[in-house]
């Protein structure tokens, strides 16, 4: 057949028709339809009986009440508990995503592990619990036999008054080590303010629901500060009561947007702003005369018995902090300062709050004192709607631990972190100094380090230094339930249960205005071979033997806890029993007692001290044998005279050259990005905007004006360099960011956890160039000088 046009068309048409008439195309289409519906995996949730269990979320010291919906033996949903006083139904995003912490196989240790390869190689061997506890017990026994029990250290992330924290502390002291440290937190600074100005130890509570004028000096009230569930509930009261909120923040945070007035002083000058307000209040005589005259010390000038004249707080503030001076320091217009101060002074129940971000990291001591001085000027201390001196929670005390000579000798040795020494007299614990001491010493003064509920290798400012110190410590034991950065560098893992698998308590959740004891209970049975760290400690103590074992008379953690709780129902203030507390999940006295006039202050003067006698005593003790000026220089205090003992403004110094590093790196904390020792669960990733995280790139917020100086556009890639290192980021232009400041969120940049978290973003802690806060020695983590480099 000839191949021509006609035949070609005939062939094509015939062929097409033939194929269409055959079953082939229809069969193929059918096959494709079936093939595409061959779903590889669609899970079918297992059915079961519905039940609801009440418990308390112990992921942070906020202790919100939760109700867990269960289907059969599985927990399927966490909801806020409406009949629980702290949060009244509200709960934070992390608490809501709690099941992704419990059930995420990829982030949890499933059994005790022993490192077999070199450190960091991630070669592990699963070992039985007996063997694991024995190994640690043998090591500690060895230290005690060598007469150096102080070489054991612990870093604890549990709430400081919880039974777990007390148990760990007890273990260390009965073994004979003074080196019990807690993770740095805002509570430390408040504890010092409370001690120096009011004479009592412990955090300060805030009656925010009854305040009608709130000045927050940097607390992210709606971004996770305090007990997040409570703060978000409180916000509805504020809307209802028309509470006036002034937010001081260098960036349009959620709180700043919700506030009635937003002020943005230069970061680190908040103390000056507070004192500027104090100046107006004192000058215009708007303070509470009754409180100042009867209950305070150091307000007016006074003479000591030997005739030495002291300048009073009022005189110093009038001389040094006029609105004009403060305007130059803070960048806030003098007339605004006057206006805010007058409003504050004329409010019925004003309150001033010091803090920064979520309150997971410490603040500056003098700044917190300056802010708290505002409360005292208006006589708000321990009044309805004011800052409260915590009532006693009548928990029973355990009997004192037994000490043998080895323990007694060990406890006399100086702490490795230098806390409570003459140089750092007021801080309870200084992990930053612990790191420094280890890095500066020739071997390691610590032989065994135990870590509880903490991930310092990720969360500590200047984390690289901590990691360096860890490498020097011969033996590290992690009690973390998670494969976090710190536990991956450990030698022995004794995994704890997660918060939904165990009983734990929180004594007086952060900032709550009435006494409350929260008790969580296991919601599901432990799903892996983990053990309650409390039980492990008791069993460890028994194996160490001798007096250590004698100090742990309980069979398990629950018994130890029960012995403390017994005090609550023995006190008879609330008629309850153990069963009631366990079922309710809390014990509480509904309202704070506003009793006690002047006797609430336990300072040497028995008054509220503007002039802190304790600081005077401490500096006197420290300056023995050296000149007074040198002593102040050592302590990092730049001011002179009576001001040293009073709230005042100290410019935070930075080692970095301002010319070389012209910008400031300001880490921020978001409520929907977990930045503590708990890794951010995948559901929280959903809430991040794609101008915060895009693929693996973290965005930093930069003011468009600053960005244009560096020719950076939205989404540009850049390097942030500090003296400590550099981070690769992308730029998000945000008008709400203060010019010349780079805002970077805490919580991303994990090098551990699963692929839903690992490698996403960068961790600002790596390049934080921390300096020491004057007097307290706590790390100043928000003052890193950096430069921005376009790439």
């Amino acid at each position: 057949m000839e191949f021509n046009r006609r035949n070609f068309i005939k062939f094509a048409v015939g062929g097409t028709g033939g194929i269409l008439l055959s079953p082939l195309p229809w069969k193929l289409i059918d096959d494709i339809a079936i093939w595409t519906q061959n779903w590889s995996w669609v899970p079918v949730p297992v059915r079961g009986k519905f039940s609801y269990l009440n418990s308390v979320c112990t992921l942070c010291p906020g202790a919100c009440g939760i109700q867990v919906r269960k289907v059969g033996s599985r927990a399927v949903k966490i909801e806020g508990r409406g009949d629980y006083p702290v949060n009244q139904g509200g709960i934070c995003p992390l608490g809501m995503a709690g099941l992704q912490i419990l059930y995420n196989e990829g982030i949890r240790w499933k059994a005790p592990m022993k490192r077999v390869g070199p450190r960091g190689s991630q070669e592990w061997k699963e070992i039985p619990w007996d063997e694991a506890i024995d190994e640690l017990a043998t090591r500690i026994k060895g230290l005690r036999e060598k007469g150096s029990p102080e070489k054991l250290a612990a870093i604890d992330g549990n709430q400081s008054r919880s039974t777990m924290a007390l148990l760990i502390k007890r273990l260390l002291s009965s073994i004979g080590s003074p080196n019990y440290m807690v993770m740095p937190r805002e509570e430390d600074t408040y504890d010092m303010v409370n001690f120096l100005m009011q004479g009592s130890r412990g955090p300060i509570a805030f009656d925010l629901e009854n305040a009608d004028f709130i000045v927050s000096f940097g607390c992210s009230l709606f971004d996770g500060w305090g007990a997040p569930g409570r703060m978000l509930s409180a916000s509805r009261e504020w809307v209802k009561n028309k509470t006036y909120l002034v937010q001081i923040d260098p960036r349009t945070s959620n709180t700043a947007s919700k506030a009635d007035l937003w002020l943005a002083p230069f970061p680190g000058t908040e103390a000056a702003l507070a004192l500027g307000m104090a100046h107006v209040i004192i000058k215009e005589k708007l303070y509470s005369k009754e409180f100042i005259e009867n209950h305070t010390f150091g307000f007016a000038d006074w003479f000591e018995e030997d005739g030495v004249k002291h300048k009073g707080f009022s005189r110093i503030v009038l001389e040094k902090y006029s609105p004009q001076v403060v305007e130059n320091i803070t960048g806030i217009k003098g007339r605004v300062i006057i206006e805010v101060a007058r409003k504050f002074a004329s409010a019925h129940a004003p309150i001033a709050l010091a803090g920064r971000g979520k309150g997971t990291l410490p603040g500056s001591l003098y700044e917190f004192m300056a802010v708290h001085a505002l409360n005292a000027l208006k006589g708000r201390v321990n009044k309805k709607g004011g800052p409260l001196i915590a009532d006693d929670i009548p928990l029973a005390q355990w009997s004192d631990p037994e000490y043998d000579p080895v323990a007694m000798d060990g406890l006399k040795k100086a702490r490795v972190d230098l806390a409570k020494t003459p140089r750092y007299p007021f801080s309870r614990s200084l992990v930053n100094k612990f790191t420094e001491t280890i890095n500066n010493s020739h071997g390691s003064p610590i032989d065994t380090l135990m870590l509880f509920s903490a991930n310092p290798a990720f969360t500590i400012p200047d984390s690289q230094s901590f990691i360096k110190a860890m490498a020097k410590i011969p033996f590290i034991v992690s009690f973390s339930p998670f494969m976090d950065e710190t536990s991956l560098m450990a030698d022995l893992i004794l995994p704890d249960h997660t918060h939904l698998e165990k009983m734990a308590d929180i004594v007086w959740p952060t900032g709550i205005q009435y006494p409350l004891y929260a008790l969580s209970q296991p919601v599901v049975k432990p799903i892996y071979r983990t053990e309650h760290s409390g039980d492990v400690i008791i069993s460890l103590a028994k194996r160490i033997g001798g007096p250590v074992s004698g100090s742990f008379q309980w069979a398990n953690f629950e018994e130890a806890l029960k012995e403390r709780v017994k005090g609550l129902y023995d006190s008879g203030r609330e008629k309850v029993s153990w069963a009631d507390i366990k079922e309710n999940g809390y014990w509480s006295i509904p309202a704070h007692s506003f009793e006690g006039g002047s006797d609430i202050f336990q300072t040497p003067s028995k008054r509220f001290e503007f002039f802190s006698t304790e600081i005077e005593l401490a500096i006197k003790a420290y300056s023995k044998g050296k000149s007074f000026d040198d002593a102040l220089l050592d302590l990092g205090i730049s001011s002179k005279g009576d001001e040293v003992y009073m709230p005042h403004y100290e410019e935070i110094k930075s080692g970095a050259d301002k010319k070389e590093y012209p910008l400031l790196l300001f880490p921020m904390e978001l409520i929907n990005l977990a930045s503590g020792w708990i890794g951010n669960p995948p559901y929280l990733n959903k809430t991040l905007f794609d101008h915060q995280l895009k693929r693996d790139d973290l965005f930093v917020e930069v003011n468009p004006k600053t960005a244009s100086q560096y020719r950076l556009k939205e989404g540009s890639k850049a390097i942030i360099r500090s003296p400590k290192g550099e981070l690769r980021v992308r730029i998000h232009l945000f008008h709400g960011a203060m010019p010349d400041v780079i805002f970077i969120p805490f919580g991303l940049g994990h090098t551990a956890y699963d692929k839903y978290l690992k490698g996403k973003g960068v961790n600002p802690n790596e390049i934080i160039d921390q300096v020491e806060d004057p007097l307290s020695g706590q790390p100043v983590w928000w003052n890193t000088r950096v430069k921005l480099i376009r790439i």
Binding site: G89, Y103, N104, L232, P682
Partner: protein, 255 residues
């Protein structure tokens, strides 16, 4: 087209007070965990990830320090005139006349995504992949909501299973009508600032009927006549102006 009578039956709706909303994201997470919503490695890919309730962040565009930020949580608007329903070739989505809720039947959906194109609120999402839960996380899946397969569209159902649960309970107790707070979606229940109010728009006794009369109440893209049943409240003019494409001079100041 004959206009449907929307005064009969229940018309469930929502009022979200943007003055109270702090953008914490709890509603989104409550929604995700209530409705077995899967997670991806890269949740920053907002064209592929699954969220029924999305939160938008908007600013007033003013320079430092005049900047303001607000957050707009956006569930399905459950429109009275839903643009997504008439376009569906498979009748996979429909408006329930007894509740006013727009349903989505996954097994009927053919994945053509016409509804996604029709929805002016971007309230619908497509399953580009099989549902994925990190290892071990299928243990928290709730049997009340079926996980969706690849190739179908899904969207907010106002937690319809909760309505079923409440109705079943009412039936057992011999009641015909539900009490006001007996049926509320997970996001409403979870909101820690109580910014979201839920109820029956056809019931004048419900709190929501009062709230929508506020001069500060508005809906998104109101002039498209989709008649959303999700209302917002904001006392800020710039927020209300942003809610629709107003011509200059057209926006009426109601402050």
């Amino acid at each position: 087209m004959k206009k449907e009578d929307t005064t009969k039956g229940n018309r469930y709706g929502m009022v979200i007070d943007l003055d109270k909303c702090t953008g914490c994201g709890v509603c989104l997470i409550a929604c995700a965990s209530e409705n077995n919503i899967p997670v991806m490695y890269d949740e920053s890919d907002k064209t592929r990830n699954i969220t029924w309730l999305q939160i938008y962040m908007v600013t007033n565009g003013k320079e430092f320090p005049e900047t303001e930020v607000i957050y707009i949580p956006r569930p399905c608007m459950q429109c009275d005139n839903p643009p997504c329903v008439p376009v569906c070739p498979a009748t996979a989505t429909d408006k329930d006349p007894t509740s006013g809720i727009i349903s989505q039947i996954y097994t009927r959906c053919i994945g053509c995504r016409y509804c996604m194109a029709a929805c002016p609120y971007h309230a619908r999402v497509f399953n580009w992949f099989d549902p994925w839960f990190p290892e071990g996380m299928d243990r928290y899946l709730s049997p009340e909501v079926s996980p969706r397969m690849r190739g179908v569209v899904e969207k907010c159902s106002f937690c319809h299973h909760r309505l079923m649960r409440a109705k079943a309970k009412a039936n057992v107790e011999g009641r015909r009508d539900l009490k006001e707070d007996e049926y509320i979606p997970a996001c409403v229940e979870a909101c820690p600032t109580k910014a979201i109010t839920f109820g029956d728009l056809n019931n004048p006794k419900h709190k929501i009927s009062e709230l929508i009369k506020s001069p500060h109440a508005f809906r998104l893209l109101e002039r498209l006549n989709t008649e959303p049943k999700v209302y917002y409240i904001s006392t800020k003019n710039w927020v209300r102006r942003m809610a629709d494409n107003y011509l200059s001079g057209e926006f009426k100041d109601r402050s």
